[in-house]
């Protein structure tokens, strides 16, 4: 038995092993492949198909024309504007927070991070109602401002763009803080000391050494909160007015109230494309920045 095995040995066992490996590999990958095909690839393509299908079953761009004209177009612009504002504010506050936390001792930094992240685990609905209580005409914020004789108080902080941006920013803040904190922790503080040894003042060190080093983090954090805001639904719906209708609300209305699946599908595809465009934009900006650096140096 042993003799016959060794006689046949040279090429075959290795080949057998190799093909067996591949077969086993496919077997391992199969659940994931099936999962992705059924739950990801199929829905995307059926949505795409739905958005291109006319009521009589023929192909049409009618739904896209619809989505990009009139009220729908202004909803699209509102979505972009609110997302951009959210990205900006969550970036600014995220930067300030993360910068402060990154200077703390590890223990306190951990506590601070917990405080920043914990609200994220509370249901978005609960959080939103919390904001509504705080920001209403008789809410804590307006009451405090009135008591302090702030001119013009009470302010309208709900059911307008201010309310929406406050709400979405608070939702996005944990993401930006987490991302920026990681990047800031990665900056070698001794580089700042090196810059100081050459005579750079604090502002110069911040502008020419620190900021460039955390810029990649700023770009990705800003992009992340922008993309997440694009499709955000609950907060804008509850804290905004009719003028703050965002694309996700529009899709919801079309499906739930008008039973208009084709139009909603077109909006969904547009949302997806916008997200891709955002990703591409950041890619272009960063690579442009890099090539500019290269040129100015040579």
């Amino acid at each position: 038995m042993a003799a016959t095995l060794t006689a046949h040995a040279p090429a075959r066992p290795r080949k057998l092993l190799a093909s067996r490996k591949t077969r086993v590999g496919i077997l391992y990958a199969l659940p994931v492949v099936v999962y992705l095909l059924v739950l990801f690839v199929y829905p995307i393509f059926s949505t795409l198909f739905l958005s291109l299908k006319n009521t009589d079953g023929s192909l049409t761009l009618h739904w896209y024309v619809d989505a990009l004209t009139g009220v729908n177009l202004s909803v699209l612009f509102t979505t972009l504007r609110i997302s951009a504002e959210t990205a900006l504010f969550s970036l600014v506050f995220g930067f300030i927070l993360a910068n402060a936390i990154s200077r703390l001792k590890p223990l306190w930094a951990g506590v601070a991070m917990l405080i920043v992240v914990v609200p994220h685990f509370i249901s978005a609905l609960v959080r939103t109602y919390g904001w509504i209580i705080l920001l209403g005409d008789k809410g804590l914020v307006n009451q405090a401002m009135a008591d302090l004789w702030v001119p013009g108080a009470p302010y309208q902080l709900l059911y307008n763009e201010i309310g929406v941006v406050i709400g979405t920013t608070s939702v996005m803040l944990p993401y930006t803080v987490l991302l920026l904190y990681g990047v800031m922790r990665g900056v070698d503080r001794r580089l700042l000391a090196a810059a100081a040894s050459m005579g750079a003042g604090r502002l110069t060190i911040f502008r020419r050494v620190y900021l460039p080093l955390v810029t990649p983090g700023l770009a990705s954090a800003g992009l992340l909160s922008f993309i997440l805001s694009l499709g955000y639904y609950i907060t804008p719906a509850l804290m905004g007015g009719p003028k703050q209708t965002m694309i996700a609300s529009l899709i919801n209305q079309q499906v739930m109230k008008q039973n208009q699946w084709n139009g909603a599908a077109a909006e969904g595809v547009i949302l997806l494309l916008l997200t891709f465009a955002g990703l591409l934009l950041v890619k272009v900006i960063t690579s442009l920045g890099a090539s500019r650096k290269k040129r100015s140096a040579s």
């Binding site: 070698d188 001794r190 580089l191 000391a193 090196a194 810059a195 100081a196 040894s197 050459m198 005579g199 750079a200 003042g201 110069t204 020419r208 050494v209 460039p212 080093l213 650096k293 290269k294 140096a297 040579s298």
Partner: protein, 379 residues
């Protein structure tokens, strides 16, 4: 090179250092720093002349880096003053001191090219663009980095990165450049090469450098003067030759010369010599004249390279060669001295005439090469 300032190296006359006094570049007076109960630096004082290469040498925890950090301004002294030129900088922030600093970890700005890194301190000083380009080019050329200007730091080797860091620290002509173990992260061969480059650049440009290292050889190769530090104290601040040949404390003799120590007692003084009777062998050893009364217990310190093997009866003691290892140009021998179980006496003799294992030898030494340290009673 003329535009880089007057070269003012220190000169040595008969082994005694005489700075060519063009003024002091930096002085430190009674500098002290404590961390809780630990005294990191204890009343350190020194004056460093312009154009001088000074090294702080010591083991870790000796206070050498703390002293450097206080001079740089990264660490605040408890007391004492630091003067650069005529300016008291003790209370100034690092950026206001106008010093250069080379770090062990290079610390080049990763988001800038080599040229931008070197240009950085110049842009801070509002130097016109054309001049920046010229000076960056010149400095990179001195360091042998022409053509590397548009590279990123991460594309360079460790040695190249440290050269860039050096350029960045000297391009703006600070009156003093501080270096904190700049070659510590490099391998031996590269370190040797860069030592020579640093020394050459320092001499060509007449730079005043304060250098921190724990490597004795590196300190000897580079320095005009070395401050040997231990436990926050400057044990001795002198030229390499003085430190080597006239150590003021047993620690310095051991640290720099890896000296042999033999206990003994002063027997008598003559005009030129002090004679010591060794405790172990009872042999008489002639040292150069020390001002020590007869009867004083002493430690005799002799470096391995200054001892010679001779016929068994000609030396101040005799013994048996227990081990002899050939290390290229030298033979290192360990000799077991008769009459006791003291540590092996270490010898370094030129290869070829070296003693062999098991041989009976006498040991002799030139009186000029013997240093005596009085030992505390009972110590």
């Amino acid at each position: 090179m003329a535009e880089f300032g007057v070269v003012t190296p220190s000169v040595e006359v008969a082994g005694v250092k005489q700075p060519t006094a063009t003024g002091k570049a930096l002085s430190v007076v009674a500098l002290r720093k404590t961390y809780g109960d630990v005294v990191a630096v204890d009343e350190a004082s020194m004056e460093i002349a312009a154009g001088e290469f000074v090294t702080f040498l010591g083991a870790s925890g000796s206070g050498k880096t703390t002293t450097l950090m206080m001079i740089a301004g990264f660490c605040e002294p408890d007391s004492g003053t630091i003067t650069v030129g005529d300016r008291d900088v003790t209370k100034l922030a690092p950026q206001k001191r106008n010093l250069g600093f080379v770090f062990q970890q290079y610390l080049l700005f990763p988001h800038m090219t080599v040229s931008e890194n070197v240009a950085f301190p110049l842009t801070l000083r509002g130097v016109p663009k054309d001049e920046i380009r010229r000076r960056v080019g010149e400095t990179l050329e001195i360091a042998g980095l022409s053509g590397f200007g548009s590279r990123r730091p991460r594309e360079l080797s460790g040695g190249q990165q440290q050269r860039v860091a050096l350029c960045r620290a000297l391009v703006y002509r600070p009156p003093v450049i501080l270096m904190d173990e700049p070659l510590g992260a490099l391998d031996k061969k590269l370190r040797d090469q860069l030592q020579i480059e640093i020394k050459t650049i320092q001499q060509e440009l007449g730079l005043t450098v304060i250098y921190v290292t724990h490597d004795q050889e590196e300190a000897l190769v580079l320095s005009d003067r070395i401050a040997v530090m231990r436990n926050g104290l400057i044990e001795q601040f002198d030229t390499p030759r003085e430190l080597f040949e006239r150590p003021r404390t047993p620690f310095v003799a051991d640290f720099l010369g890896a000296a042999n120590f033999l206990p003994g007692r002063v027997l008598q003084n003559t005009d030129a010599h002090t004679v010591v009777r060794l405790d172990q062998s009872g042999g008489l050893l002639k040292a150069r004249r020390h001002d020590l009364a007869s009867g004083t217990p002493v430690k005799v310190a002799v470096q391995p390279g200054r001892l010679r093997a001779c016929a068994p009866d000609d030396g101040f003691c005799t013994g048996t060669v227990e081990i002899a290892t050939y290390v290229g140009t030298l033979v290192r021998a360990g000799v077991r001295i008769d009459g006791g179980d003291a540590p092996l006496l270490r010898l370094e003799v030129p290869a070829g005439r070296g003693p062999v294992t098991g041989e009976r030898v006498g040991i002799t030494v030139d009186p000029e090469d013997v240093n005596l340290f009085p030992t505390e009673q009972g110590g």
